[in-house]
């Protein structure tokens, strides 16, 4: 029996562990068990990915009920890649967690980490399952856990942010459920592969069209695609830093994956892009998100909000890749999905380090901090290079593919737009650097020591990954291409 056969345990380990962690006393033990669980998931996901790339989809029938009757876990390159990202980022952010959580959350941590594991298990479940209704179930598991996690924030505004997210997230999930219900109504099946086989006969069915629209809007909400992004800035800004770091790298990515899975696998692109003006709609929304997100980020004085708006812009890049509906475009989307997780995690970690020492994420309180916390702010600057897309960083690789995809599609103006928004990123990153190094510390500000190693080491680890994946692109580009192929059905023709 190899590790490969433990594939379902990627989801089951965090799910089961959450029950155990909830009962554990104290503060360190729950963290340790959580870390072990997330690491175990990540290790299995790392073993599964190469297999999923080289072989056709791996399938696991739950309770030995053969699909399409039972629930099936179905893993190909696309979701194996996302699963590795989610579980890997969970493990890395957990390394960063203890100090940061200690400064923000008091009392025993069993519940907190149990919720975290639930959120993680939910995200991984959404990723791996081959059953449409199961997607909804896991989506609710992860969402409910996430709302609670956000509400843990020290700032009282975290409650409002969590409530807002709850409302909008529930609307999104309901849309998804309605969409799935329509599909079930006309086909009588919930298995995605089975749906994909049956839907072509129902091309002209209005319920199917409505289902597609509902699912895309529902996932657009979870993805924070403009104009459905309103929940995101406050949720990210006021959640505990550790939660923000984790969500920024994973939650929206999984939502994008679900959207892609439905558009490409369940409905197939020659349906999705034909019955709805999906290409145009997604492209317009993506570009609007890129600009609006970057524009607002340029004027934020709260740095976590700034990064949150930047995330909205980055979601725009990913969706832009999707909207081109080509293999290169999808590759770019998957690349940026992965790379942006690394970039944004590093940036939020650096800001988390600053908050750990100064208790503030305001731009003004960062003035002159470059000399007092050089390692933290250098990490921020380097991760900033990656979000701008400077060569030798991961961000460059994803932008390169995005631009290449635009050129291949003959959309020159998209190249221009991507570059303009990159320049906007230069501006909002530069503001921070200028404040940190070229401004004087405000009079009366207490001297601040450098962040503790427990925070710095994981932060720099993610920064190093940003450069590693900017230089060694075999894993990311290879997996992204395989993921795009898997979604397109091994390079099938596109409209």
């Amino acid at each position: 029996m190899t590790l490969l056969e433990f594939m379902p345990f990627i989801v089951l380990i965090p799910l089961i562990a959450s029950g155990i962690v909830a009962l554990l006393p104290g503060r360190n033990l729950p963290w340790l068990v959580t870390l072990l669980a997330a690491t175990a998931s990540a290790v299995i996901a790392a073993v599964v990915l190469p297999a999923a790339i080289s072989e056709p989809a791996l399938s696991y029938p739950f309770g030995n009920w053969p699909p399409p009757f039972g629930i099936e876990y179905r893993v190909d390159a696309a979701n194996a890649f996302v699963a590795l990202l989610v579980s890997g980022m969970a493990a890395i952010t957990l390394l960063w967690a203890p100090k940061s959580v200690a400064s923000e959350i008091h009392g025993r941590l069993g519940t907190f980490y149990a919720l975290f594991l639930l959120a993680l298990a939910g995200l991984l479940g959404i990723t791996l399952t081959g059953d449409a209704f199961n997607v909804f179930v896991f989506l609710e598991i992860s969402s409910l856990a996430t709302y609670t996690l956000i509400a843990y924030g020290k700032d009282r505004r975290a409650l409002l942010a969590a409530f807002r997210y709850l409302i909008m997230g529930t609307v999104g999930a309901t849309f998804l459920l309605i969409g799935i219900a329509f599909l079930y109504m006309v086909t009588g099946t919930l298995n995605m592969a089975d749906l994909a086989e049956r839907l072509p006969e129902l091309r002209d069915n209005n319920a199917v069209r409505a289902a597609l629209a509902f699912i895309i809007v529902g996932m657009g909400l979870k993805l924070a695609l403009l104009p459905l992004h309103l929940w995101l800035p406050n949720a990210y800004a006021y959640a505990p830093n550790f939660v923000t770091v984790f969500l920024a790298g994973t939650a929206t990515k999984v939502a994008l994956y679900v959207m892609l899975r439905f558009i490409f696998t369940v409905f197939s692109p020659d349906y999705s892009f034909v019955v709805l003006p999906l290409s145009t709609v997604l492209m317009v929304l993506a570009v609007a998100g890129m600009f609006a997100g970057s524009w607002v980020a340029m004027f934020q004085i709260h740095l976590k909000r700034m990064l949150a708006y930047s995330s909205i812009a980055q979601v725009g890049y990913m969706v832009l890749g999707v909207s081109l509906a080509t293999a290169t475009g999808l590759t770019a989307a998957f690349l940026h999905l992965f790379n942006h997780a690394l970039i944004k995690t590093a940036l939020f970690m650096a800001i988390g380090c600053v908050m750990y020492r100064t208790g503030s994420a305001k731009l003004d309180d960062l003035r002159g901090l470059g000399r007092q916390m050089p390692w933290t702010l250098t990490a921020f600057a380097l991760a900033g290079l990656s979000i701008i897309g400077v060569p030798t960083t991961a961000g460059f690789i994803s932008k390169w593919y995005l631009v290449l995809a635009s050129i291949e599609a003959g959309a020159w103006w998209l190249v221009v737009l991507v570059l303009i928004t990159s320049l906007m990123a230069v501006y909002y990153i530069w503001r921070v650097i200028e404040a940190a190094w070229f401004s004087e510390r405000p009079a009366g500000a207490a001297p601040v020591p450098e962040a503790p190693l427990a925070l710095l080491v994981p932060t720099w680890l993610v920064v190093a990954l940003n450069f590693y994946f900017g230089l060694d692109t075999r894993l990311t580009v290879g997996a992204s291409m395989a993921a795009a192929d898997a979604l397109l059905g091994s390079g099938a023709g596109l409209p």
Binding site: V390, P391, T392, W400, L404, I407, L419, S422, E434, T473
Partner: protein, 491 residues
């Protein structure tokens, strides 16, 4: 020079980078920082000259460092033009090191570790540009050069310095990311190559209509070449301490700009293909316009450094014109002017800084009679000015000679006339400071005793002035080195 060590290009690029790291770590000890600066610039000089031998003899020095994506790599290869640029930067760096040490200590500046570390990084980046084998590598180092010089421009930390530095960085990044980067990607998409190749990579691959647009994107994207209207960063950078203006904004940064222009013209577009593009003439006339207008502006600058800055803008356009004339002679002339103007202009800036240190004077109108108090400095200024104007017995004569002959050969009468007119303008704005210093009496109340700047500053400026004279006799070997570009021996 076979007795010198021959290091790989990437190692040479890393020498200043490692030196910068070491300097940054000595933040507490100024003396140790100076020692490492000396050591780094000396090691850099030796290693760059060590490569000169093989390159002159026609050997191909290549090194692939890392492949990012298939066909897209960080790689180096050295051809004569890049060798010349690297030699220029390395030679002037070792002269600028004592000057910078003298200037910064006597001027009472702080944060010296940051200053010298960034100084070294900038030189490493210049070497990276010089040795780059493809557009991507060049772009990476081009951006490192922009960013690493920002702290140097903003060094004073005053509001004015920060505003200047912001203009500086904003314009350089805007042009490079806004124009250069898309042009690079477009080139890659159209030709499937980014490697500098003899004769260019575009001929037969890219439609001239597209090539013309690419040329415009590339030329204006090379903000460091200071074509109008993207020249404002150079005067803005003059808020920097003078050693920065001298080595970086008269040599490393701006020469990197025109080097990129020459390199693009020769190795990406190819001179023959360049002739077929309509936009070549357009860029040519923009450069001509820049050359004349910048000269006219320079005449009206009373601030000495601002005058020199606009003079640089004007002289850079000489070289851009040389590239756009698309003849071998003019391109070689452009390459030589890179060298000659480098020596001449660094001398002038060294002098401006020395004058400021010794007498706190920054304006041309304050220079009356200064030749009596600072005879060495003002004599060096005179020689530097002659070199920039292109008068014998300085090396400037030869580079302008080839540029003008190139214009004559290619039949651009208007450009020929502009060259001659601009030379007259050069005389009109560079000689008045000299004439004031030597012919006018000192203002009342100033003693006539000799008061030169510290010797750490005077010796370098004397040496660079001497260098312009030596180049008058050595110009032929520079010409032969670059003639190798077209004879097929190299590259």
């Amino acid at each position: 020079m076979t007795w010198l060590p021959q290091l790989s290009p990437f190692t040479i690029v890393l020498i200043p980078m490692v030196g910068a790291l070491a300097i940054a770590l000595t933040a507490g000890s100024t003396r140790a920082g100076f020692a490492i600066s000396w050591l780094t610039s000396a090691a850099f000089l030796v290693s760059v000259w060590g490569l000169a031998g093989p390159v002159v003899s026609g050997e191909v020095v290549e090194q692939a460092v890392w492949e990012l994506l298939p066909g897209m790599a960080i790689a180096f290869s050295i051809e004569p033009l890049g060798m010349l640029f690297a030699l220029l930067a390395a030679t002037l760096w070792i002269l600028a090191t004592p000057y910078a040490i003298g200037y910064m200590t006597h001027g009472g500046y702080s944060s010296l570790a940051r200053f010298f570390a960034c100084y070294a990084i900038a030189l490493g980046a210049a070497a990276g540009i010089a040795f780059a084998d493809n557009l991507l590598t060049m772009f990476v180092f081009y951006e490192i050069l922009s960013v690493s010089t920002y702290p140097l421009v903003a060094h004073d930390g005053t509001g004015k310095a920060k505003r200047g530095a912001r203009t500086y960085l904003a314009l350089l990044l805007l042009t490079s990311i806004g124009f250069w980067l898309p042009a690079m990607i477009w080139t890659w998409a159209a030709t499937g190559s980014m490697t500098f190749t003899s004769g260019g990579i575009m001929a037969g691959q890219v439609d001239p209509a597209v090539g013309a647009i690419l040329l415009i994107l590339f030329m204006f994207g090379t903000g460091k070449a200071a074509l109008m209207p993207f020249h404002r960063w150079l005067p803005a950078a003059m808020v920097a301490p003078t050693p920065v203006s001298a080595l970086l904004h008269a040599v490393a940064v701006v020469k990197a700009g025109v080097f990129v222009v020459l390199k693009l013209a020769i190795y990406i577009f190819g001179l023959d293909y360049l002739k077929t593009l309509w936009s070549t003439d357009f860029v040519l006339y923009v450069a001509t316009f820049t050359m004349l207008v910048a000269s006219l502006i320079a005449m009206h600058q009373d601030n000495l450094k601002a005058r020199l800055a606009y003079s640089t803008v004007s002289q850079l356009s000489y070289i851009v014109i040389g590239a756009m004339l698309a003849t071998q002679l003019a391109a070689i002339g452009g390459g030589m002017h890179m060298l000659m103007h480098g020596f001449g202009k660094i001398t002038l800036f060294f002098c401006a800084g020395a004058i400021y240190l010794a007498s706190k004077k920054t304006r041309v109108s304050e220079l009356d009679g200064l030749g009596r108090r600072m005879p060495i400095t003002m004599a060096a200024f005179f020689i530097g000015a002659m070199c920039v104007i292109g008068l014998p017995p300085t090396g400037g004569l030869w580079s302008k000679w080839h540029l003008v002959s190139g214009a004559y050969d290619s039949g651009y009468a208007l450009v020929l006339a502009a060259y001659l007119l601009s030379t007259l303008l050069n005389i009109a704005y560079l000689l008045p400071p000299v004439l004031r210093a030597f012919l006018k009496p000192l203002p009342a109340g100033e003693s006539a005793g000799i008061k030169e700047a510290p010797w750490l500053c005077v010796i370098p400026l004397s040496l660079t002035a001497l260098g312009t004279l030596v180049l008058f006799f050595l110009a032929q070997s520079g010409f032969e080195l670059m003639a190798g570009i077209f004879s097929g021996v190299n590259g």
